[in-house]
Symmetry: C2
Subunit: 490 residues, 2 copies
């Protein structure tokens, strides 16, 4: 098969788009900015969901579901929140269509809503309005709830998975009796995300906090994980917010403390979205197609038979049936691609494009020799191995692939993280190889904005593990006590 | 605890509302007709999802995701479809809010959409517009896709779970090369639903087909499963539609057949929703609260310690830790309720209200005797049993409870299904004990409508297993060749 994928060196952005389309992950829909997530792409998202959901439950959270619509008045109650989201909201104004009498279907103006409804861009407001009814005393706290849902943000420039008008995500919303407990929750969920990114997505991340300028609208503190893509641009892969008492005050949610006092409740929210699909694709894939870490691959092993006669096929079938059973016993997902409408070479290319980590090819000669050809997608290498113990060999290989993909991403990040001490150096790196640039900054929004205007680089985060270090801001020369990470970003 | 639940005999409808609220399943939100599904309710829905999703995958389906919004013009392409849904659509007309200059947040009239977007009430139109790009030849068929999503139908009278403006559901949408294959798919999915209702929900259902008048808007044939609630009203628990070529024609989706001809594609769609929660509640629960079949109970076993001293508690704790481990090993979900803020009687009432199938109470004397008190929620009986082998005892008991709940519902339905041969008898039953009424009908929409006007009863379905039988319509006396089922319905 002809893959028709632009190479990364030629046009990284086009490579990404080609890959998403050709690997059957997603496509643009007829609705501006909204995507269709195709079955193969959705299967990867489902694996992400399953693993994250398990971790949320292990850390004491339950799922719930809140309305898609938010009354406009709710939305306006938290000042910085409405400021952050008002310009990108889908607004429902009517609840009925009608026939205009000459056969055209039009909006029925008699069915205008008294108050417009906003399609949720995030659910803090509707959820805190609900929590008001759930919380009376400290005994009702903490509330540890998560929601899997669709949200809509009317983005003007969209890209499949990375920035779409509608996307899928989870949003955790927790309520606590103390500030300390809420901060600990926000930090805990950041670590859940970081661990997921590193051990499941095989994407190393920097754990950090956002500057005031980049905080979530309504948060006192936004923690984030930042990943690096192969083109040297950063991608924010998840955020966890300490919301203080902002939403409790906006919705008047108080509780009676152990000491009998009325106090406002403390809040967090945290989320990751289908954007992670973009991170996954851009972190690992190559010019031949997707490279999927085994832990997320919907198909971990594909088996392709190579035969000329029915007898040869029958003998291979028997062998494969046993292998499949053994692999399934190890919880390894396997597909036997014995379509007779396609040649082996076509199948190899197709599964390579779709990022299946391990390919087993088995032919008549292999059957005589007691061998198979085993190919790994990540390194694009293959070797002849024994049929005996093959399920174990594959199990070990999958582990090795997961590790290798992760290590490769770590190495890439290491070679694309640069400490600089002057603005000239800064610009040279940002406009050159890109990546994370670690440097001193004077802590002002103004400097941050000016650097962004001049270089398009933004402060991705103040790393949580940043050491105290005397220095001077690369832009203003003013004193600084720790380095921050700049990068161009998605 | 005071449960505050109205009894069924006093006011069935109020009993239902009380139960949904008091058992923490769901509540009304601030948005008209939209509900909040609370964690305990959502946990039951998640179990339904998991079991159904597994069955969909076992029958060859994959999940995917399509846009929330549908352009108005798409929606209008299939004539009977738009007629069925136009009067209950939420319409998005703008994509931005703004500050009006004096601090009020208003809809920005400069951000009016060129074409209004409908919030999906069902996704046939947007999906068939997408399928057009996926299908060229018979090799691309069948497409077997399911979507888990929220949908919106602007209902005027809403009730938690049973009829809400926004609800959660799954919608399968399949594309086939032949009419036969599509009909077989629709029938297969009906059977998946029926099996799920009976073996998981423990709700017996009648498999049938809808009359022309009750068909899905755009379908050639609608298959359904109909369940009976304790008040004698029927509830449609799932539908599976044979759509013929209606949507393929509306969206011009053709394929090249094996013979090289251009033909329109054949379609099905099928869905169940959070309405099933309503069916589950109304089929089994009693005046003390929920009764959950073990297969859907988020907590299958609750253990309550009864003690006076710390020593007694410590001894019980040790016993319980072992029991919990054993139960978890059998994949039985268990909660140890050792809150020291509530008395055992309060806990008993709370878990009874929440429908936990099995309760284990263990006190100091039990520890001496090597016994526990084992209570089953469905029969509200309890007995003293040995600690030895308790995990096995519980495992067997859970099976028995599942069966017993189902049998009870079967018996209820049997005693509330009545064959009648005259309109007088018909009215007497419908206005009396209710339930399914099996009778002859002349096959006309007119008769169906008149019976509905006079009695509020509708034809729930023409049962698939209905025998050929000569008879006369109870209303018009015209000849009829098989009986149909009438009932008042939710």
């Amino acid at each position: 098969m002809s893959k028709g994928i632009t190479s990364r060196s030629e046009d990284y952005s086009q490579w990404y788009n080609d890959l998403v389309i050709k690997a059957d992950l997603a496509e643009n829909s007829a609705v501006r900015g909204c995507m269709v997530i195709k079955p193969y792409g959705y299967a990867i998202w489902e694996r992400m969901q399953a693993i994250l959901d398990k971790r949320f439950k292990e850390t004491g959270h339950s799922n719930a579901y809140f309305p898609l619509f938010i009354p406009k008045s709710f939305f306006s109650k938290e000042a910085s929140h409405v400021e952050g989201f008002a310009t990108e909201c889908a607004v429902v104004t009517h609840y009925r269509l009608k026939n205009d009498g000459s056969g055209n279907i039009i909006v029925d103006e008699d069915a205008k809503l008294e108050e417009e409804l906003i399609v949720r861009p995030t659910s803090e407001t509707i959820i805190w309005n609900t929590y008001k009814g759930w919380i009376e005393s400290y005994r009702d706290l903490p509330i540890l709830v998560n929601q899997w849902a669709n949200v809509v943000r009317w983005e003007m420039r969209t890209r499949l998975f990375l920035r779409t008008a509608e996307f899928l995500w989870q949003e955790g919303h927790t309520a606590h009796a103390t500030s300390e407990e809420a901060i600990a929750e926000a930090e805990q969920m950041l670590e859940v995300y970081a661990d997921f990114a590193e051990n499941t997505l095989a994407v190393p991340v920097v754990r950090g906090r956002k500057t005031e300028n980049e905080r979530f609208a309504g948060a006192l503190d936004t923690f984030c994980i930042e990943a690096l893509m192969q083109d040297g641009k950063a991608l924010q892969a998840g955020t966890s917010h300490f919301l203080g008492q902002n939403f409790a005050k906006a919705f008047d949610v108080k509780f009676t403390s152990k000491e009998g006092k009325q106090e406002y409740v403390w809040a967090t929210s945290w989320g990751v979205s289908t954007r992670l699909m973009g991170a996954l694709i851009m972190a690992h894939s190559d010019d031949q197609g997707l490279v999927l870490p085994p832990k997320l691959a919907p198909i971990q092993v594909v088996i392709v038979p190579i035969y000329k006669t029915d007898e040869e096929k029958a003998s291979i079938d028997t062998f494969v049936a046993n292998l499949q059973a053994e692999l399934k016993g190890k919880d390894i997902s396997v597909k036997y691609d014995d379509r007779d409408t396609q040649r082996p070479g076509f199948k190899f290319a197709e599964w390579e494009l779709k990022g299946v980590p391990v390919r087993v090819a088995v032919g008549a000669r292999d059957m005589q020799n007691g061998t198979v050809e085993l190919a790994r997608r990540d390194k694009q290498t293959k070797e002849t191995v024994a049929q005996e113990g093959l399920a174990n060999t594959i199990e070990v290989l999958l582990e090795d692939i997961q590790q290798h993909i992760y290590q490769k991403a770590i190495d890439f990040r290491a070679s694309h993280t640069t400490e600089v001490n002057s603005y000239d150096e800064f610009k040279q790196v940002i406009e050159g190889k890109g990546g994370f640039v670690s440097c001193h900054w004077d802590g002002t929004v103004e400097t941050e904005k000016r650097v962004k205007e001049e270089t398009k680089a933004t402060i991705r985060c103040i790393p949580l593990d940043a050491k105290e270090e005397e220095g001077v801001c690369i832009f203003t020369g003013k004193p600084s006590s720790r380095r921050v990470l700049f990068a161009k970003a998605y």
